[in-house]
Amino acid sequence: MRFAFSDDQLLFRDTVRDFLAKECQPERVREAWANDDGLLPDVWAGLAEMGVIGLLVPEALGGLGMDELDLVLLLEETGRAALPGPVIDTVAVAAPTLARLQQAPDHQPIAGWLSELAAGTLLAATNFGSPLVGHADVASLVLLDVEGELHAALPGSMALVAQASVDGSRRLFTVDTARDSTVCLARDDRGRSCIEGAFDRGALAAAAQLLGLADRMLELTVGYVKQREQFGVPIGTFQAVKHHLADALLALSFARPAVYNAACSVARELPDAARDVSMAKACASDAAHAVGRHALQCHGAIGYTIEYDLHLYLKRAWALAASWGDAAWHRDRVGVALGI
């Protein structure tokens, strides 16, 4: 028994954190809010270079061949940075889903997709668990749940309607495909199992990003309340502010092990993996929502302006808390697993 990451895992995490701290600062996130596609290609390329994008792609296809436990801390870092782009869909969902199918002989394009994905040149989109498909306009590949079958759709084969998110860098679309314009990758039990596994991986990844977002919001707020003065003292000296932030840390601290445990269960494909993912997503969604509220309240009016950075993280947190099953949905699924 050892509930801690390895030195290698922590080192990789630190490397990614440093990279994103340098390359994905708030002004870059603002850039993605304002530009055409909501992407930051140079940051994506840098992460591909580091192996993050293709972490779950087999080594033979240019990836690192690692697992969800290796990925979870890195996803947390992408959350901390509010990294724009389809990280969850591409890195955490499409890669392992395709890797699993790639062993079947009848789907030759899959190996190619995986190689491109690992190289950072293929962005993927998915509709698992929600009709809102992120970045479908720029995705080279859209994986679709079509009535329980796993389908692939290629650019140009879909009608897209843009759907605006509170998070300006999240470009969402509803997708319409003619049935014969997509390729079925898996059907029946296998299709359903692929889709379920893909959904769980998306929920886990969202939970991990929510941890990072919560941590960033807490950090911003701790910094602010130490420096902002009212009534002649830093507002961080007031007990009410202290208790807001203690509550924020409490929620975050107890969500974190749930997410790491779920990463372990998914990586090892344990029978309780779906339940563990649901617990993780429920905890992380609630924690990020709570931390966001404490953070905004402790900032006061300045936090309510878009010139200050807090809102970038707050809105991403709201969007991810609602995506891949919100807290209530996942608690319901835990309940079913508990037989109630």
């Binding site: 999240r170 969402l172 309240q297 006061g300 309510y304 099953g325 919100d326 209530a328």
Partner: protein, 391 residues
């Protein structure tokens, strides 16, 4: 205890309801906190004014209907029930006007009130400064006496001024005694924003609208007629206003009763649609209705006190705590019912109810912050209502 409306009040309600039914725009206006939306809302304000619905509780001489406080409550209930537009004039009507009625000279009232009622003068509030948020008494914007010109020269900066970029006038506190500290030596001034030396810079709010402004003042001159109440007595003049803001006048129960009704409607639709979160949200939906209804009842008691001459005093902090936190809870419940659709804005064709729940949620989060943070309100309740020691 008499919980019936008189027949006159019922007739007033019927008149409100009839007029609103035939005048409220069929399609919701764009947000009044954007430049375009503000202009559209001004058209609406002028329609209201034309038929004397903009300031029902004011004397007829100023454009009102001499309505009682009870009738005002009825108007508000009907207004929100009808889904009528937000009141972009509210900072003038609900915050400045009560102060003008109490402290204004006849000349000031005759000049300012009719123009306010007609939405000719558009008022924003200039309380906050970069270093004076919760700590309002630390205001540093100065007004220097210009005896020769018979007025004051203003220098400083106001900020987080709601709709400041679209308004024509600002009211706020300025330090008129340069040697004073904290609550003393402040004066309540009314400042036309086209005064030379005044610069207004709009900036974005969390909810995406350009609803905030910074107002920079550099040696801007205003004549003595712009002083409301006595020189150096601004704090006590202003306190009358902040008490209104916290209390019922800014946030009448009608608003929340309408939100609760919309929430129940949303719940029914989501349940019919088989939304998984519906069953576990029912208790919270019921609680939302109860919260709004208790606020309505609490307000009836408040209005009875006011009508019978009993002051609410620091109790108005309880109102503010209640409505601001209830509003957040109701919107959190709505987002839970919406699940993934909760992140969609009004610009999304797939948004439920035009994205109004996400927008409303974001707006609700400002409630525990503005008009004195809820932390400050809890201090006030503990110290001034319960009598705990200040330290």
């Amino acid at each position: 205890m008499d919980l019936d409306w008189t027949s006159a009040e019922q007739a007033f309600r019927a008149e409100c309801r009839g007029w609103l039914a035939s005048h409220v725009p069929r399609d919701p206006l764009p947000s009044g906190d954007t430049r375009e939306g503000f202009a559209r809302h001004l058209e609406w304000e002028r329609i209201l004014h034309e038929d004397r619905w903009s300031v029902v509780s004011w004397p007829a001489a100023y454009g009102g209907r001499d309505a009682t406080l009870w009738e005002w409550l009825i108007f508000e209930e009907e207004y929100y029930r009808a889904g009528a537009p937000q009141r972009v004039t509210q900072n003038g009507i609900f915050l400045l006007a009560p102060t003008l009625f109490e402290f204004g000279t006849e000349e000031q009232k005759d000049h300012y009130l009719p123009r306010m009622a007609a939405a000719e003068d558009l008022w924003c509030q200039g309380w906050s400064e970069p270093n004076a948020g919760s700590d309002l008494a630390s205001i540093s914007s100065r007004a220097q006496r210009d005896e020769g010109a018979g007025g004051w020269r203003l220098t400083g900066q106001k900020t987080w001024t709601t709709r400041g970029a679209f308004c024509t006038h600002l009211f706020g506190l300025f330090r008129t005694d340069p040697d004073s500290e904290r609550h003393r030596g402040l004066t309540y001034l009314m400042v036309p924003l086209d005064t030379p030396g005044v610069t207004v810079r709009g900036f974005g709010r969390l909810d995406g609208d350009e609803g905030f402004a910074e107002v920079f003042l550099e040696d801007a001159f205003v004549p003595d007629g712009c002083v409301l109440g006595g020189v150096n007595e601004g704090w006590s003049v202003a306190m009358a206003t902040t008490s209104s803001e916290r209390g019922l006048t800014l946030r009448s129960p009608g608003r929340f009763v309408a939100t609760a009704d919309r929430l129940i409607d949303l719940y029914k639709r989501q349940r019919r649609a088989g939304a998984p979160a519906a069953p576990s949200s029912r208790d919270a939906v019921v609680q939302a209705w109860i919260d709004a209804e208790t606020y309505r009842l609490y307000t009836l008691a408040d209005v009875t006190d006011i009508v019978e001459g009993r002051s609410l005093g620091a109790r108005s902090s309880l109102n503010k705590l209640w409505w601001s936190e209830m509003d957040v809870r109701m919107h959190e419940t709505a987002l839970r019912l919406l699940s993934s659709a909760g992140e969609l804005t009004d610009a999304a064709p797939a948004a439920v109810d035009g994205g109004s729940w996400a927008k409303g949620f974001q707006f609700s989060l400002s409630g525990p912050i503005y008009a004195g943070t809820n932390e400050i309100q809890r201090n006030i309740v503990a110290e001034r209502v319960l009598g705990l020691p200040r330290r």
